[in-house]
Amino acid sequence: MRENGPAAMPRTIIEPQFTIEHLSILDSDGNLDSALDPRIPPEELQRLYRAMLLARHFDERMLRLQRQGRIGTFAPIKGQEAAQLGSVATLRRTDWMVPSFRETASMLWRGWSMEKLLLFFSGYLEGGRPEPEQHDLPICIPVATQLPHAVGLAYAAQYRGDDAVVMAYCGDGATSEGDFHEAMNFAGVWHVPVVFIVQNNQWAISIPLKKQTHSRTIAQKALAYGFPGLQVDGNDVLAVYAASREAVERARRGDGPTLIECVTYRLGVHTTSDDPTKYRSTEEVEAWERKDPLTRFRAYLQTRNLLEPGLEAAVDAEIASGVQAFEAAGPPDPLTVFDHAYGNPPAEIAAQRAAMAARLGRAPQPDAGPPPSPPMRGQRRSWPS
């Protein structure tokens, strides 16, 4: 040190090195680390497995429907059932669920009917309408843009004095978007009751995680926003459940947001328009198939003697009746396109509706016509001329 010179100004450590935890409770063979057993009641375990099986079979059925031209493009979830159900199952009905576009399992759990999901992927907006008491947002397609909505919902719940928690989903690709950053930042600053579930399924269409971020984990991104981030084995439903339950409880008692990175894998295509053989190897997919979330959970339940007989047939029957309900619905009514564009519609909407009604040989005003036909319709009927 120089004498009579300026004081030394050493670099000081203001943030000690951080740690990121990874939680795994069931290994890929279904063996439990009993020290970490989240002690989920047996009926809840059975409910979870049933939901995982239903989601898997429904997803496979949707793929066949799409290949047959009976529904349009959709984003399959195969491989991500544990990440979705382990998290969503920790919510109350009065909590809010904010999906992206690959949350079929979470949506089924929250009460979205198969009929509605099929309608949605057949181009019917009716498939995006939550029931009046349902606290869910609809499928959101522009990546990460739903995350700020979740923060706003959580703020509003807090503002009204409700104890609702909001759970929002996104994928690894979404973490590169500006809206991801803005949502995390707002959530941290506002300290709102929101839980972000990032399903890191390794691929954003053809872009692998290593081209998406240079961060070692996605979980650690939360720390920069001032709230906890945790990585879990996303194919281990018990780990996802344990982490989500803790995060939801933390949010509900006013201790703010959490980010949970579920490390999982998209076993199928990005969407039904995608061919993943162009960008990833069969060996990689096979390695992840050995970590299938259903296989290990099933093995675990078997050791506990909790597998219900006849379950496969029961979920298939449920799916068959959902598909049947979807296909039994009548043809679309083109005049309904005007019904929900505005709450207080301008004159021009009425004029355009009247013009369409005239072309269709129908009454010009909604009130003057025959009673509106049911809104849900199958896709294969012809468009009325």
Partner: protein, 326 residues
């Protein structure tokens, strides 16, 4: 009744709507403690506190996106985007979500919210602080687009916008913030959104304007009256979308001529829709082509040359004379 400028009048609307409805809250950059960079939200933070008058992080998509969530929950956020030139950073939220939530959920949810933004030139401000982008919002189905022209209608339209079940993009002309004071009633006043106002009646030509251009149109009408003896009818749109075609058509059926003025660039601007609507509704009454007086089709020119680019009284007078003598 008090004499207020537009800033004070807008502030009064916010104050009174917040007093009457606890679901109304204000969110934006510097809107709280500072009272907004143009002082429109002054004193609201002191009166209602930081949970209702929220200083947000500096992030436009976050402001609009979080407000969508609040609106879906049943609150009525009034967002301030500090300058309309910054709104492209939240344009995706407005187009993808604010405008569409009612349709996407088939009426289950709507976004009852207002997005206030100062817009327009004439205040010697830098790039991104002086532009007019109303055409982008006016083109989006599901949104309403309102631009007041003076303190009294600004106050009444903002109150109406807050109560409207549909999302309203509310542009405030910076050039008008302190331009004039008007008598503004103390008691709450609203105006119907979607209605144009015949600002001045006349028989020779319909001059269509909105926002800061209404003042310009009045000056041009005065000059045409003094120098040419022409009687100019000024239609102040007040709402850009939904466009009040009825008032426009009725006026042109009477005058047979129309000139449209706006600060936004010419091509594919609001003038095109206005002129087409007049043509559709009053074709047989037209005595001359409809002319447009607008900014040129160039990106922002810098405020040193702004006057060369934006409409001025002389250009409006010339366009009216050409139309009158066609």
């Amino acid at each position: 009744m008090a004499k207020l400028n537009m800033v004070k009048a807008l502030n009064l609307a916010l104050l009174q709507e917040m007093e009457r409805d606890p679901d109304v809250l204000v969110i934006g950059e510097d809107v709280g403690v500072d009272g907004g960079v143009f002082r429109v939200t002054e004193d609201l933070h002191r009166k209602f506190g930081g949970t209702r008058v929220m200083d947000s992080p500096l992030a436009e998509a976050g402001i609009i996106g979080a407000s969508v969530g609040m609106a879906l929950y049943g609150l009525k956020p009034v967002c301030e985007i500090q300058f309309s030139g910054f709104a492209f950073q939240c344009f995706h939220q407005m187009e993808n979500h604010v405008a569409r939530y009612r349709m996407r959920t088939q009426g289950r949810f709507g976004c009852q919210m207002v997005v206030r933004m100062p817009y327009g030139g004439g205040v010697r401000a830098l790039e991104h602080h002086s532009e007019s982008e109303e055409q982008f919002y006016a083109h989006i189905p599901g949104l309403k687009m309102v631009i007041p022209s003076g303190p009294r209608n600004a106050r009444a339209l903002l109150a109406a916008a807050i109560r409207d079940p549909d999302p309203v993009i509310f542009f405030e002309a910076k050039a008008l913030y302190h331009a004039a004071k008007e008598d503004v009633p103390d008691e709450i006043e609203t105006m119907e959104i979607g209605r144009a106002h015949v600002d001045r009646a006349g028989k020779d030509i319909t001059l269509v304007a909105y926002g800061a251009m209404v003042r310009m149109a009045r000056e041009a009408a005065d000059r045409l009256h003094e120098e040419d003896g022409a009687e100019i009818e000024i239609v102040d749109l007040l709402t850009i979308s939904p466009l009040d075609r009825e008032t426009l058509t009725a006026s042109v059926r009477k005058t047979g001529r129309a000139v449209v003025v706006h600060e936004a660039p010419k091509s594919f601007g609001p003038g095109a829709e206005i002129a087409t609507s007049i043509m559709e509704g009053a074709f047989l009454s037209l005595e001359a082509p409809i002319r447009r007086v607008t900014a040129h089709d160039v990106p922002f020119v810098g405020f040193a040359r702004e006057r060369a680019n934006l409409p001025d009284v002389a250009r409006i007078v010339d366009a009216c004379r050409e139309t009158l003598s066609f």
